[in-house]
Symmetry: C2
């Protein structure tokens, strides 16, 4: 039961009955006992609560006085950080726009400084720090030889803070975050796409993050749409990302007479229903939808989650994607695939780093 | 240790040392003890041995005197059957070309009759029968309402034979068979494609068969290659299967002046290096390669296994697929994806049904 709660952060008693398959009366008795002993506390839904002072409600979670977990997302333009307690409640968050140092040791110092400054603001005692999760862009398992070696960053930070540090790709961690706290909560089989300057993704299969033989699974942006298409940074040709990533969309807009400086501008233009912008994005969403239709044929997910700036466009994009999945992914089966917008915004990678730590500390369980 | 052996069928002592991470001397002592007590027996490699009388060798396996497992593949044109002992050795095999009855009860009788006749030929005592696995075409989890309800077939057969019966899609089971006994042995992340009249597949992720939310994962034949392509039986358009499945290839050959009656004829023509046939198959292999390149981007497998009649063409097909994966699936990563031919031939589905039973009886473990 504790394992289920640790896994999910907070659960209602009814949900616990379902998950443990124990008699209702037993679950209520055990929960009552654990609450009395201070192992569990009654809490409000995670995300609503701040610093453990949620209104008492129908959910129970682990006592938030237990150890803290810090999640860090070392992005290209900013380093984001969240602090979670053992009840999976986010008790603080912060961001540094200083570019992350290329040297692993220097980067570890930056992260340590950010942790201290965020915790100082919120008066959080770092003695309770139990572990740190880090998300990085790129493929840490493969790019071990990069300037800022993921292994060095992990060990430097672990030595400085004297706690275990776990590291992963930040898009995959964002997928894990959506599955744990966001739009994918409670869904075992899901595909997450981050549609932004690049196009990345992460898949959950039977409740587990799909990692792959080289830690490179989920690279939906590098599914080839057109073998004769433009060359991609990955070395391939006609990858989805070259056709629907941010730079490609801005260039198509420019060719059609709409000059925009950034992806945020494009999203704003679509939200204002400027015809050219909407048209460009819907066409792109259809192309993404074709690739997602293939992904659905392969993985048979229950839900597809669209994150990144372009996910925030909402129904226009979701419907175009849904149409393609419905039309092209074995419509005869009559299965329902939900296509929804991601929930978590800019902190998804940092939240995912927390989820990564929480999951890696538990005994592996099949999802359910 | 027993779990590792049950999982793998037969293992050498050195491999057991590696897998259990126990000291070499301990593993040798434990194995010696278990062999003495009759729990383990020394055996030859599974597949080589017949009826438990393999030459004594470096491998140890569970005592074959333990319970039998029957695997059945109810195909469109034939029902195939294998009988395995607890050491994962195949002790008998058989086939019936009588079409499987549409009625679940009648089909169960056919299967029971086939089991009895195969076991009678090889003088196998059915009292030792422990479980039956069945592979069926289609998607049993979704097509519960079909004439021959998978659930009814399972319960009818289970009632008749008085043993547990487990059922699954036969292409997915073939993937499991290759992973357990064939070209995917020891590989945790792999994609299996059955390239035949239809194009199907199955994926192993972290050592587990990918099932999906509706039991429909692995349908690589229904990945859309061309949204404006011909209509597919699945209701979609431009699915890989419509472009490279057996009927499409025979039709292209016909248009190019080569009239062939069957896929076997086509394979023979390619093996004889008849130019038109080779060209048609290589072009098709490239298309399959494009879809597999996308699959590799998503799943990051270590190995891709090509089964079905067209897999038997060998290097011509494997190289064309490999080229596309190398060119289109993030070549910058420098990862190596192996593309190999399937090992197991026509009994792959029935063997997979046995593997399915063996895996479902064990405690779930992470692969390794």
């Amino acid at each position: 039961m504790i394992r289920e709660i640790r896994r999910s952060g907070a659960l209602g008693r009814g949900e616990l009955v379902r998950r443990t398959a124990l008699p209702r009366s037993s679950v209520f008795a055990i929960v009552g006992d654990l609450v009395e002993r201070g192992v569990l506390v009654e809490t409000s839904r995670p995300g609503d609560a701040r610093r453990g002072r949620g209104r008492p409600g129908a959910l129970v979670s682990l006592d938030p006085a237990a150890g803290l977990i810090v999640g860090v997302d070392v992005g290209r333009e900013a380093t984001r950080l969240v602090v979670a307690n053992a009840a999976h409640q986010i008790v603080a968050a912060g961001v540094s726009e200083e570019p992350a140092a290329e040297d692993a040791g220097a980067c570890a110092v930056q992260i340590e400084t950010l942790i201290h400054s965020v915790c100082a603001v919120d008066d959080i005692d770092l003695d309770a720090l139990e572990a740190v999760g880090i998300g990085v862009y790129g493929l840490p398992e493969i790019h071990e030889s990069a300037t800022r070696s993921p292994r060095d960053l992990t060990s430097e930070l672990s030595n400085r803070l004297e706690v275990p540090v776990a590291l992963g790709n930040n898009t995959r961690l964002a997928a894990l975050a959506e599955a744990t706290w966001g739009a994918g909560r409670g869904v075992d089989d899901q595909v997450y796409v981050r549609w932004s300057v690049g196009v990345g993704g992460g898949c959950l299969v039977g409740g587990r993050l799909l990692v792959g033989a080289n830690g490179a699974a989920g690279e939906i942006g590098h599914v080839c749409l057109d073998p004769n298409g433009p060359r991609c940074d990955c070395g391939g040709h006609g990858c989805l990302e070259t056709l629907v990533g941010g730079p490609a969309l801005l260039e198509i807009c420019r060719q059609r007479g709409l000059d925009l400086r950034s992806l945020d501008d494009l999203v704003e233009a679509v939200q204002a229903r400027i015809a050219v912008a909407s048209d460009v994005v819907v066409q792109a969403a259809r192309r993404l939808g074709v690739v997602l239709a293939g992904t659905v044929a392969l993985l048979d997910p229950q839900r597809v989650i669209i994150g990144g700036e372009l996910g925030q466009v909402g129904s226009l994009v979701l419907e175009a994607i849904h149409e393609k999945i419905d039309a092209l992914s074995m419509p005869g089966l009559g299965r329902t695939v939900e296509v929804v917008r991601a929930d978590l915004g800019m902190n998804d990678g940092a939240l995912g780093a927390v989820a990564h730590v929480l999951r890696s500390r538990q005994p592996t369980t099949t999802a359910g």
